[in-house]
């Protein structure tokens, strides 16, 4: 089982920039991209079919036809992705949208464009770790993508076999 990270961003250049900045994670988790919500749902289906888990979504706020916030809200009712951590990557979410994202989509983090790559990576790492911790997954297969020191807590009560 691999952890999957979904980048939902309609603008190619931004998507590519995100992908490149998140490249350090590529060898340890599954990086997926979608330019619209429909594709995003396909990706989720594919992730699920492969036995992987969607752990984190980086969603743009403005998307064709819908808003990233609406997508994140809809995720909460999708049993395949309801536990996924969520980061809103945006340049222009207004207060109302942000409030909705936090209250209804249980948004975990908010990243303003332009982002700092180190901070973004650190945030992704934290969120992946939180996902693993909240689902009590075995952190070892994903350890390089996680905050290792924090993930070690999960091993404390594991025991020797």
């Amino acid at each position: 089982m691999r952890l999957a990270l979904l980048i939902l961003e309609d603008e190619r250049a931004v998507r590519e920039a995100l992908r490149r900045d998140l490249a350090p994670f590529a060898s340890h988790i599954r990086l997926e991209e979608a330019e619209d919500v429909e594709t995003a749902r396909d990706v989720i289906t594919e992730i699920d079919a492969d036995g992987d888990q969607l752990a984190l979504v980086l969603a743009d706020h403005r998307l064709p036809g819908t808003s990233g916030v609406d997508f994140l809200i809809s995720l909460r009712t999708d049993e395949r992705a309801s536990m996924a951590r969520t980061i809103l990557v945006t340049g222009q979410a207004d207060q109302e949208d942000t409030i909705r994202a936090i209250n209804e989509a249980q948004l975990d983090r908010y990243v303003a464009k332009p982002w700092q790559p180190e901070l973004l990576c650190q945030m992704v790492r934290e969120q992946l770790t939180d996902y693993v911790v909240s689902r009590r997954l075995d952190p070892l297969p994903h350890l390089p993508a996680l905050d290792a020191a924090a993930a070690m807590t999960l091993l404390q009560d594991r025991g020797d076999f």
Partner: protein, 653 residues
């Protein structure tokens, strides 16, 4: 004078014959009475009217009408009607069928104590006198003569017969019999002179006082104990008010000043002031009292003077009341007018504020655009230079050819949907069996499994390929981004670009077609319908209008998906205006933002500057308003329509 009362049923046969008493054959007094009484009345009337009218008797109103109808040249100044069972008003209505009878003076002879059937007669001013029966012989004749005289003076003043009866001013030649009425017919000054003459008869000669203009004859608030008989000159009545003296009466003052206050035994209500030089006689309360007591006939003169003064004053008051009402109405009208104007002013002010806001935004936008222009241009050039120099560097690299091909491929890579990209990556994953490696290779632009395998075997080459691909895609994104900024800067500059002189004789359709050609690449599979009507050529800024059409078309395209329909409709609703409508059948605009669609806001979608609901419509509005036209946008499920109306005459100067 005291003739025995004639019984009402006294005459009959003479009436049967329609006996006519002497007088001009076409001038008749009509007696409407039962036959016996009619004869008596006719006899009495004839006495007073001899030489003036013939008297004709009819038994009732119908008979009178048919009688008159039979003699169309008759003049009927007088009708004498005897009260019968038939209500007076009803009879009057019958009489009114004949125009000759409508103007006649009506005398009613009745023996009843009450009449409730004369409302119409009184209301229409048709009843001239009510005479009680039995009457004193001669009364009818006297009354009838007076009425006829008055009627003739009013209606037939030119008849020679009339001129004998009536004075040139239309009043009957014979003066009233009573002192009072006789005096009332005199000029005010004459009455005053007579009064003064009477007073002087009692008191001896009185001194004439000559006073200059401006002299106060009586003062407001001061006890009045004398009257002033004004023999010459004019006097005005003023009353002090907080805003200065208020002139209430001028010509209505009357000949005897102070009379009213004297009558009410109190302080003067007005200040009486001479407005010209006046000649007065001063009479104290006691002098006046003595004169009236000694010669009671002076009372009539006194009363006449007073009535004259009162009537003048009352008339003046009535005029003032009417004037006040009229002024109030005018005031109310003006008030409403003012309120309307105020509202319009407020609207205008709001519009001005709005315009000022947009103008300021425009200036700000233009300023930013100006500042951004140079760095953006430098950036755009720099991307080209980096690409060129990299190619030169690679030329000397041992693996240069490979790196260069990868670099160029990645730099030129056309956008693909993430779905396609994922499919390719999956394919690669399956071929390599290593998702992480497949991802890495895919990002380096390596999509063919054979090539991927070959590169995997040679990590150094793979590193190079990755780096070259990285630079390629970064450069491509940089270029796209700077181009977008360029577009945005251009849009911003356009937003407040100063314009030259408008050009006449422009064909709108040609301009629209130019714009369509410019955005042809974006039309794709969108269906375009042209419904061009006959348009006059117009005066305009053709370049700006081109921009307008481009913005509106781009806006419509944004609302559509890959397919859809845009309809262009042109017509001339009036000879002075042309109208262009751009309709699309795409997504409706959110009603919440509909009121703000013309405000300048920025939107970007899918990597390109889209005018959408952003700057595009704001520019469109500015252009249309600069042309003195109007732009409207309606949007509902099923599509959006933008309507632009432009004056043929072009922008206002």
């Amino acid at each position: 004078m005291t003739a025995p009362a004639s019984p009402l049923d006294g005459c009959g046969r003479r009436d049967e014959r329609n006996a006519e008493v002497a007088g001009p054959p076409w001038c008749h007094a009509l007696v409407i009475a039962p036959p016996p009484l009619a004869a008596t009345i006719a006899e009495d009337l004839a006495r007073g009217l001899s030489g003036l009218l013939a008297v004709t008797c009819t038994p009732d109103a119908e008979a009178a009408v048919s009688r008159i109808a039979a003699a169309p040249d008759w003049i009927v100044p007088l009708i004498l009607m005897v009260a019968t069972e038939v209500p007076i008003d009803d009879q009057l209505r019958i009489l009114d069928q004949e125009p000759a009878l409508r103007t006649a003076s009506l005398l009613l002879l009745t023996d009843r104590a009450w009449h409730e059937d004369v409302t119409l007669a009184v209301d229409q001013n048709r009843l001239q006198a009510v005479i009680h029966a039995p009457w004193t012989t001669g009364t009818l004749a006297w009354l009838a003569r007076a009425q006829v005289t008055r009627w003739l003076g009013a209606n037939r003043p030119q008849d020679p017969q009339t001129q004998q009866l009536v004075a040139p001013d239309g009043r009957p030649m014979a003066p009233p019999e009573s002192d009072l009425l006789r005096l009332l017919e005199l000029e005010t000054m004459d009455v005053a002179t007579q009064l003064l003459a009477g007073v002087e008869r009692v008191l001896g000669p009185c001194a004439r006082l000559r006073l200059p203009a401006g002299t106060r004859l009586i003062q407001e608030g001061v006890d009045v104990d004398a009257v002033l008989v004004v023999l010459k000159g004019r006097v005005a009545l003023d009353r002090a008010a907080p805003s200065g003296d208020l002139r209430l009466h001028h010509d209505s003052t009357g000949a005897v000043v102070g009379l009213l206050s004297l009558a009410r035994q109190q302080r003067a209500f007005f200040t009486a002031r001479a407005t010209t030089e006046v000649e007065v006689v001063h009479l104290s309360f006691e002098q006046l009292d003595r004169a009236l007591a000694v010669d009671p006939s002076l009372g009539a003169a006194m009363a006449a003077v007073s009535i004259r003064a009162l009537a003048n004053r009352l008339q003046r008051a009535d005029q003032l009341q009417i004037e006040k009402t009229r002024l109030n109405q005018a005031l109310e009208r003006e008030r409403q007018e003012l309120s309307r104007t105020l509202h319009q002013l407020e609207q205008a002010r709001l519009e001005l504020v709005e315009q000022a806001r947009f103008a300021m935004l425009g200036e700000l936008a233009a300023g930013i655009a100006h500042e951004l222009n140079n760095p953006v241009a430098a950036m755009l050039r720099a991307t080209t230079y980096v690409g060129e120099d990299l190619e030169r560097v690679l030329a000397s690299h041992p693996q240069g050819a490979l790196a260069r091909s990868v670099f160029e491929a990645e730099r030129e890579r056309a956008p693909r949907s993430t779905r396609e990209e994922r499919a390719i990556r999956r394919h690669l994953e399956q071929a390599l069996g290593d998702p992480a490696l497949a991802q890495r290779l895919f990002e380096a632009g390596i999509e063919e499994p054979e090539r991927a395998r070959a590169l995997t075997a040679d990590p150094a080459r793979l590193e190079l390929v990755e780096a070259a691909a990285g630079i390629g895609s970064a450069l491509r994104n940089l270029e796209v981004a700077s181009r977008r900024m360029c577009e945005l800067v251009t849009s911003l500059r356009t937003y407040s670009r100063p314009k030259g002189q408008p050009v006449s004789g422009i064909d709108l359709h040609a301009g629209i077609e130019d714009s369509l050609r410019l955005i042809a690449h974006r039309l794709g599979r969108v269906e375009l319908e042209r419904h061009y009507g006959e348009l006059p050529t117009i005066r305009c800024h053709p370049g700006e209008l081109g921009e307008l059409w481009t913005n509106l078309l781009a806006n419509a395209l944004d609302a559509l998906d890959e397919t859809g329909r845009i309809r262009l409709i042109t017509d001339a609703p009036t000879p002075q205006a042309v109208r262009v409508r751009v309709q699309d059948n795409g997504r409706a605009i959110d009603p919440a933002i509909l009121p703000r669609v013309f405000e300048p806001r920025f939107t970007t979608k899918q990597g390109a500057v889209r005018y959408g609901l952003g700057l595009g419509l704001a520019i469109a509005r500015r252009i249309v308003e600069a042309h003195g036209g109007t732009i409207d946008l309606t949007s509902a499920t099923g599509g959006t329509q933008v309507t632009v109306v432009l004056p043929v005459a072009g922008p206002p100067d």
